[in-house]
Symmetry: D2
Subunit: 473 residues, 4 copies
């Protein structure tokens, strides 16, 4: 194809010189306020396909984070790319105050699926960017409960608008930006490997839930008026599995027990599935593993496989009916844009026609078994865990517990250097680091990754790990 | 092409029945909380091209709002669509923590252009959706001034996140959502046709600016401590031309005088160009008409011609340097997504290679002259005005002043009914209504609209106007 | 009496040396954060009686501010002092959760008087300190309107708790204390001598009221949703006559017109009578001059003639009934302390048995006439005005308009120096300075001041004025 | 004296009829929003002396709460009453912008005493009412740390202004009053009898402190940015012994350990001594027992023995120096009123000349030993504890643990009925109830209570207790 030829030609140019120019422009004209400059050495990528990224020199990087689960269905997924192209040729643009078919069908498919799963009627409201969907959910919470304040988890992440930053635990995200009047009340998350209460999972009997429940014992515990039984906070924001927090999987019964308390005080459960939705965990929503029915679900990322920032919320009918959330309650120019909804609709069809319910858990188990084997071999791997293809490896010192950020960073850099050889040729490995101590590899490979690619990934990782241990020894 | 054939085939189905099913799904599964249900009768569109939208029955609608200026370069603009397809084939997805060429080049082009225009160095920070760019600008304001509070204009619109709603004048957008701790201090806008101070433009001598200046006279006027000369508010958010407020064009000298006061108290001027940027007014930024240099510019919409929600801010170096706005200050999954930046980069090239600086003002003047002719004919048109191809017609009662929302709505509905015949065949007319009294047609045609299409638009409008006057008489 | 002998003996000690020691202790152990150190030279007073203060050397100062109207009934008023002593001997202390007779009788007397005046039933809630009563009124506003935000006047003063500072116009009072989430929306006050809109009182036709009314025209003016007719702000805080703002008296009809607008949108009028209540203006409440009935009245200061910080609010029954404001809604240890209520009750009896309704206006007119005569003589007196014994003199440059803070301060210092001779012996003159430009003498003499004492006061003032003009020439 | 004769005469009137009239006036004209109507049956008291209150029928009530420690030195303490009368005869009133001797000497005495105790220089700032002093402390915290947010304890109580309510744990105090933008982050208090973490004091090794310390481990725990080491919260508000929370005494080392953490992050410790100051616990400040030096001390109540609401704060020089807290930072009409400061000064002298340091602990131990004996006898007494004359008895069900509010209320009512006979004549007993579960008698007798009066008090209590157990059986 001519386009590929052009690309090829371009690649023939003195790439290094061009890259230097780019980096010089970047240094001068790009804000460094995003996350690019977390890294010391900047990588420029120019191509992505399947489970691989390619840099300007053509080097191949096996990607185990897939844009933090935005690209669950693989880079350059033909079916989804084609859906975008198709819509581009027909209805590439339309003001969102008018309707188009794909918006309706996508909303219907999502709401119907949730209705089947949770046996609850509800509606979909679209927006763009996960944080804006979070903002819409906050609007729903405020209008239906009359409360500005919410609970959220320590270790939770919900985005970076001012409203989302107020309910995202990390203070670093707020420090420079003045007073946050709606700062959430943050509750310890059931991070059992590092239990916030120093309990052992086997014997704790959900001590953390009981600690939460204790808040409602008397008015003096600051959140409830026992005379009216009303709570000062309107909702509890949860991630089924904490994403940025390090893919921490809560005990199976945790959410059931939590929800029971919330229901007693009419506190809504808002389930942020932006990272874990769309089969990352082997089910459509991560929360489906936990036998609990949220009041509001927030989604984004993988809905369009990363081709469009389309996001949205689902809420129970009583919260989002036309009476409860009437016309004009919220709005955004691109909220239900025709390109995004067309891709999203195709994603839904792809899901319906796939065996993700079976395949993802299978692949996940295989991947996890390989990681567990590594753990047995390397004491520096303190913990591995996974649900579907959301997997975690916690890097520690030799004691298998003390967080080892230095080693984690070193392995990441080795991966990014593109010089691993495990698969028989030079390759890089793209790893994402999360966790409270920034020592957790949060692995989110393509849901279409093959078994031998998993093998390759683990081999590459082991190579980087060995080298990392050596360098940081 | 096979795709068109499919579409054709689809169109052969009993459209009406299918439409009914869609509307029924919409009623059940879509949130009504966006702006779709402002309308009584819902329109579903299925195709867009050039200056036209097409509904499911194939009826053609001449569009004079172009997705509120998101599609300045015409629906299905081949060059821009191709840019998207090209990127789809190469680098459709990439996590924003890594770099890609188009992001850098687009940032450089934008910053360099602003540097040439205002002789000021600065940087670009991308995000998705205008409101998220507004949120980023609020972060900059807060971190650089240490203040949460800002001035904004009555009639101003900056988006619908909680943070953006706090600085958007309309209380309707806040009413259901609890307390807004950072509610802006709203200042009357120089809306001379309906002067907030009942002055005549010819004699007022910028009374409105003086009223603003008076706030700084003593500490008792609530905003300044004369002993420290510090102001309680960190910035003033402006739109060069109020968008949703009804395309109100301020007097030429207004912003210069305003900025002079702001500079005295180190109050930043944030210029929201989300609607007016990218040549809507005949210059790259609307503010360029007013001889004033903003400290922060916020942009979105037309940057990608509506193909991607890419948005962003430009800020002066001292505000956004790596020291002032360090890595991790803000973030969004899709912030500098490869598809959006590739389209944006092509938009910049298209602009550079076009004669928009000449053509847009010419077309605008022609369009305005035709509207002025209409005004002379119909007393119900209280005011027409325009800058470039941002044009306004204020619909009134026969006195030419009392706002006539009923007539405005009636004309809009006539346009949407698709039964106008002015051009020799049945057509619809897409009009956007704005203004403090919801009686202003805010016209934003494609920048590539042709003279004869302008003629057609005006003819269609006149036909609708006549009918509207008749029906509401 | 032995006590006086002791005092006499004490005075026989080397006073100067003792004073130096006191000032040295003050410099070291007293916070300077109150208003003492506004003055360059510190005055220590040791005795007060009638209309006079006496310093440690025994010098006499005629007081024209009477503790900003806290001592309306004269220093060391025997009747009120005796009431305090009496209660001291019987029930000096009692926890406010139990009742005592004086609390009940005082509440009844106040509420019954207001009922007679305004023909409205209501109740009294006591507290200590004006600001705490303001806080209680804010609680009433919030609980009955569901709104945190209120209107208040530029130039208004309601106290210095964080809540009161948020509705007090001067930014200087907030600057050091972070973000104020409930900052009032401040509205220009009808300060006709320096009209905020540069109008002339004779021709303005209440332009300022119309400007306020305009805020309610459309939702775009930021405060009202026209679809629900609800306002974002729950109350308007007014002082019948601005105290700290410079004893500015609004036009007679002003409040009637304002209230009419407020009633349309269910906005409460809260009338802060802390300075102007208890006959300062010749009527029980200052607002009684203006033919308007407030929803809440806040009072303090003169209720106990300055012998106890007792303060309180009166509110209409629907706002403060046991259902609306149930037990435990607010509380303060000293809220209805037995000493304060006993004095307050005696104050009410004193008022009932006095001819203040006649005497205060008479004395006020006489005082005002003498000030007007001064104004005719000295162009530096830009404005004099008065209502009852709340009188203002605005000091200006020779143009009679430009504020002259320097002259004002100079006259104040001359008064405090205690070396005026007008009355035939060395005396001082205690003047209070207020006003937006700190150039207004706000005169609040004892309500029991005699005509010849007024003459003396004016003579002393004229002497200081002449000297001040000379020194600042 | 004639006054006593009048009183005698008054008492001769048909008291019952007069009381009914009073109660009827109260029902009509008094706000019920304070704490009077917590009680079903209202008591009117007319006389107080020593440790006794007397009702209108002359019945005597032994008081074990002394206006929640406002009257530490006994009702109608002659020395302090005389000090008030003396000042009344000399300088009863003086605007606080001028100085008077007693203010200075009182400030000096307080600051010097604190300087001796903690070896730290500081200053005093007066105000009226504990809550206003708390507001002043919040101003200091905000201005010196730049932070609005603070930590406070669950079970803590700091007053009822909006600002104080935001840092007082009980949500009931906030529920009706909208959004509190500065709501504290509430931390579990070391209430060992009902350990918030279900630990045993003997083995816990300060688990609660470690839980607090854990908040600072990573930025994900919501309060600290580890990169800057800055905390989102500026101060920690503590009561040395929780007052309203039920006179809960923390373990001896608790505050030392807490302060160590606070110091690491520059978090101020604000010590609210409003209830526990002035020897209630056997030392001048309650905190003196705990080997820790607070940054700010807030005091009130007993400073004037309840004769005047004078309150105040002491702060370290660096926080409150004239540079840090300059003139005009805060203000209140009655802030350093001459009557209050004169009494306060006499209180300080009385303290200096007394043996409170020895006597209060002695009496406290004796009282406590008697209570412990009761506890051994009655299983319904779950816990007794005390520090000086701040004593607690926690009423439970027969298990000695389950809170028994019904019994507590019943005993309180029996005490108030005035029909106990333990001392050989009919008497009442005034008890105050506190505690998270409203089941704790918080005993605060006069510091001058005699041993035999303690015996009488315990006998009366036991009588009421028996009867209460019988009635609620």
């Amino acid at each position: 194809m001519s386009q590929n030829q052009k690309t090829a030609k371009k690649a023939a140019k003195p790439v290094k010189q061009d890259t230097d120019e780019l980096l010089s422009l970047e240094a001068k004209y790009c804000s460094w306020g995003d996350t690019v400059h977390y890294a010391q050495k900047l990588n420029i990528f120019s191509r992505s396909e399947g489970i691989y990224l390619y840099d300007r020199e053509g080097a191949e990087y096996l990607d185990l984070q897939m844009w933090y689960s935005a690209v669950n269905f693989g880079y350059k997924n033909k079916r989804l790319n084609d859906a975008l192209k198709r819509q581009l040729d027909i209805l590439p643009q339309l003001a969102c105050q008018y309707l188009h078919e794909e918006k309706i069908r996508l909303a219907a498919k999502l709401a119907q699926r949730i209705e089947r799963t949770f046996e609850t009627k509800g509606r979909i409201h679209f927006n763009v960017g996960g944080a804006q969907a979070i903002e819409d959910s906050l609007k729903l919470v405020r209008s239906s409960t009359g409360r500005n304040l919410v609970f959220a988890f320590m270790g939770g992440y919900h985005g970076r608008t001012l409203g989302a930053s107020a309910i995202t635990s990390s203070y670093r995200y707020r420090e420079k930006f003045g007073h946050f009047s709606d700062r959430a009340m943050f509750i310890p998350y059931p991070y059992c490997f590092r239990c916030p209460y120093d309990k052992k999972k086997e014997f704790c009997d959900f001590y953390c839930v009981k600690q939460f429940e204790r808040l409602f014992e008397t008015e003096y515990h600051s959140v409830v008026n026992k005379k009216t039984n009303k709570c000062e906070l309107g909702a509890f924001y949860v991630e089924s599995i904490q994403g940025t927090g390090g893919y921490v999987i809560p005990p199976y019964e945790y959410f059931v027990r939590l929800k029971e308390i919330l229901d007693r005080y009419n506190i809504l459960m808002v389930d942020d599935e932006i990272q874990m939705g769309f089969f990352r965990t082997g089910r459509f929503w991560g929360i489906e593993h936990f036998n609990v029915e949220p009041d509001i679900i927030v989604f984004g990322k993988a809905l369009t496989n990363g081709l469009n920032p389309l996001s949205g919320i689902w809420a129970k009918e009583r919260l989002i009916s036309p009476e409860a959330f009437p016309p004009g309650s919220t709005h955004s120019t691109f909220s239900s844009n025709s390109l995004g909804t067309a891709i999203g609709l195709e994603t839904m069809k792809l899901i319906e026609e796939s065996d993700l319910t079976i395949e993802v858990p299978e692949k996940g188990e295989y991947f996890l078994s390989r990681l567990k084997a590594l753990k047995r071999k390397y004491p520096e791997i303190g913990d591995v865990d996974g649900l579907g293809l959301a997997l975690r490896m916690e890097m520690c010192h030799k004691d298998g517990f003390t967080p080892n950020k230095e080693l984690t960073d070193c392995i990441t850099d080795i991966g990014l250097s593109g010089k691993l050889t495990a698969g028989g040729k030079k390759r890089g490995l793209i790893l994402d680091v999360g966790g409270y101590h920034k020592n957790v590899f949060t692995l989110a490979p393509s849901l279409f990754i093959q078994k031998k690619e998993i093998d390759l990934a683990v081999d590459l990782f082991e190579e980087a790990l060995k080298e990392g241990i050596r360098l940081t020894a």
